[in-house]
Amino acid sequence: MKHKEKLVTLKNVWKIYQMGEVKVPALKGVSVDIHKGEFVAIIGASGSGKSTMMNLVGCLDLPTKGDIFLKNQNITKLHESKLSVLRGKTIGFVFQQYNLIQTMTALENVLLPLELQEMNDEKAKKQAIKVLKLVGLEDKMYNRPTQLSGGQQQRVAIARSLANDPEIILADEVTGALDSVTGKEIMKMLTKLWKEENKTIIMITHDLNLANYAQTIIELKDGEIIKIKNNNKQTTVRT
């Protein structure tokens, strides 16, 4: 493997949830480096801590203990508003449930992250249309989520995650709500982003077939990384 610049570093990260009296350790001393341009799949059984890990990498949550570095910044030391900006600019989220805003059109949904970064209107619209084209939805950009199929909604969500041209795409079970054909399309799209747009992709899945699209597979069990392997059977996608 080539020596590349570290993008995300987890150093002895613990996440312990407090459930009333009971403490639930979801991550127990996880350490890992993710490099720029990598395509990583995180796998593991349900409850093994995959989502918890992704939330931490995505600055949606802070660890109970340990440090997380994103582009060499220790996010556990950042102020809320700085964290929001960092998140908005460097990370694009794609969720299982698409998480589009229902009252807005596809275009407006994609514009939102740009407006949050105060990009000027003209530039923002150009950029939004560009990413909608990339996911093949330029003809549906005035549709609301309810007027789109699941796969199309997920593509809007991918377009939204790409809007700010982030370095990292975080995808949590993005095909979980889709049939296998549509799921494959989405996987192709992620692969394309990785290959052609040089995005770093971190994908959560419990489907080993999907994990095979990735370059590196990290396996979690009970909050601990039990295996990090180079995937030599990587699924090839023609683009």
């Binding site: 508003s81 900006v85 908005g88 805003i101 009252t103 949050l116 700010n164």
Partner: protein, 412 residues
């Protein structure tokens, strides 16, 4: 996020809001509409009072027999205005007479005086009968002292006897036929010629006092219902009023406690009525304000529910880069918009209500016959409703902004 974008987002939220938001808006509508209606009614009353009492007659002082606080009001209308009742609730009849007039003549600050009697008389014109208020005035001075103005014909003059000046409404619209200049009107079986018509909407009749004693049933010659005094210098008003009081107390052998007459100036009366009106308006506005407050509680309630409902969206927004500040602003704008929309609709309803009010209140006579919606009251109620909305939204908005992104995203 730019404020403009936050506003756009908030507008989108209001436009897509549920019936609940519109009910909340209704609460504000009711509050604002009643505030506007009440203020405009008060403003209308103030303006119609001012136009009736005018800035005129600031140098006039009215002396009337009897002393009670209510007599001040009824005599405040000024000379010739009609409509004032002279009944004063005292055990034995107190009157003003020549002795009082004589005493007042000694005060050098007085320019001239008009003695008046008032009573209800039967009038007939071309076979139609009616009953109106008649004022007998000292025709030598009345024309110089009255604040009434002539519309047609002339005022009474020193040599007049069997002539009258009549109110505008009596001339036009009281009898079937309008009464013109030089027409003869029968008052208590005596015939009078109309020489002037006043520029007002009263049904009163003004005639020389000597004739009035003859037509009004129970008025003895030399007894006055009021003495209207024009003073030389308006600046000295308070001082002259005091002089008049003291002089009359002396001549009538009364003290402050046993005082059996009252001295009032147009100015004082005007000020008193204005003060009364504005405190009345303030009181009613406060009541209407309470409904606005209830509306505010409604907004707060709706906002709390809205934040809860939008928890997931807050999570999404944060995941794609929204700061706490952005969320806070959006919800504040949302609350302010609910206030604004409620305010605008409320203002519209308020204006409609204000224009209907004169019709609804036609039974109340002159007061309430006019409402004035001032720009100030509109601006005031609009800004109050926006501010109220925002204040009501502060805590919910803050709560929403503080949500942790993970927790918000997990919310279903």
């Amino acid at each position: 996020m730019k404020l403009r974008k936050s506003l756009k987002f908030a507008i989108n939220m209001v436009l897509h809001s549920k019936l609940r938001s519109w009910l909340t808006i209704l609460g504000i509508v009711i509050g604002v509409a009643s505030v506007i209606a009440i203020i405009s009614l008060g403003e209308g009353m103030k303006q119609s009072l001012n136009s009736q009492l005018g800035g005129l007659g600031g140098d006039l002082v009215t002396v009337s027999p009897g002393f009670s606080s209510s007599s001040k009001f009824t005599h405040g209308r000024g000379p010739g205005g009609g409509g004032g009742s002279s009944s004063v609730a005292t055990e034995e009849e107190v009157v003003l007479d020549r002795g009082d007039l004589q005493a007042l003549k000694g005060i050098s600050d007085i320019e001239l005086m008009d003695t008046q009697v008032r009573g209800s008389v039967d009038v007939s014109y071309l076979g139609k009968k009616g009953s109106v208020t008649l004022t007998g005035v000292d025709q030598k001075y009345w024309a110089q002292i009255t604040i009434s103005e002539i519309d047609e014909g002339r005022m009474l003059g020193p040599a007049d006897q069997n002539v009258i000046v009549i109110g505008g409404k009596l001339a036009e619209g009281y009898f079937d036929q309008p009464i013109g200049i030089n027409k003869m009107v029968t008052i208590e079986d005596m015939a009078f010629r109309v020489v002037g018509i006043l520029d007002d909407s009263s049904t009163s009749i003004i005639m020389p006092i000597m004739m009035a004693y003859q037509v009004i049933d129970d008025k003895e010659t030399g007894i006055y219902d009021s003495i209207i005094i024009k003073i030389k210098d308006e600046e000295n008003l308070d001082l002259v009023v005091e002089k008049i009081e003291n002089k009359l107390k002396m001549i009538r052998h009364v003290t402050e406690k046993t005082k059996d007459f009252s001295v009032s100036s147009n100015k004082q009366t005007q000020e008193m009525i204005a003060e009364f009106m504005s405190s009345m308006t303030m009181f009613l506005t406060a009541i209407a304000g309470v409904s606005l407050l209830v509306g505010a509680v409604g907004i707060a309630n709706t906002m709390f529910t809205s934040v809860l409902e939008k928890t997931k969206e807050i999570g999404i927004m944060k995941a794609i880069g929204a700061k706490n500040k952005d969320i806070m602003t959006i919800f504040l704008f949302n609350a302010g918009l609910i206030g604004l929309v409620g305010g605008v609709i409320g203002v519209i309803f308020g204006i409609i209500l204000s224009s209907l009010m004169p019709i609804m209140m036609s039974g109340m006579g002159r007061l309430g016959s006019e409402t004035v919606v001032s720009i100030n009251s509109i601006i005031l109620s609009l800004s109050v409703s926006i501010i109220i909305g925002m204040i009501a939204g502060v805590i919910p908005a803050y709560q929403g902004s503080k949500l942790k992104p993970v927790d918000a995203l997990r919310y279903e």
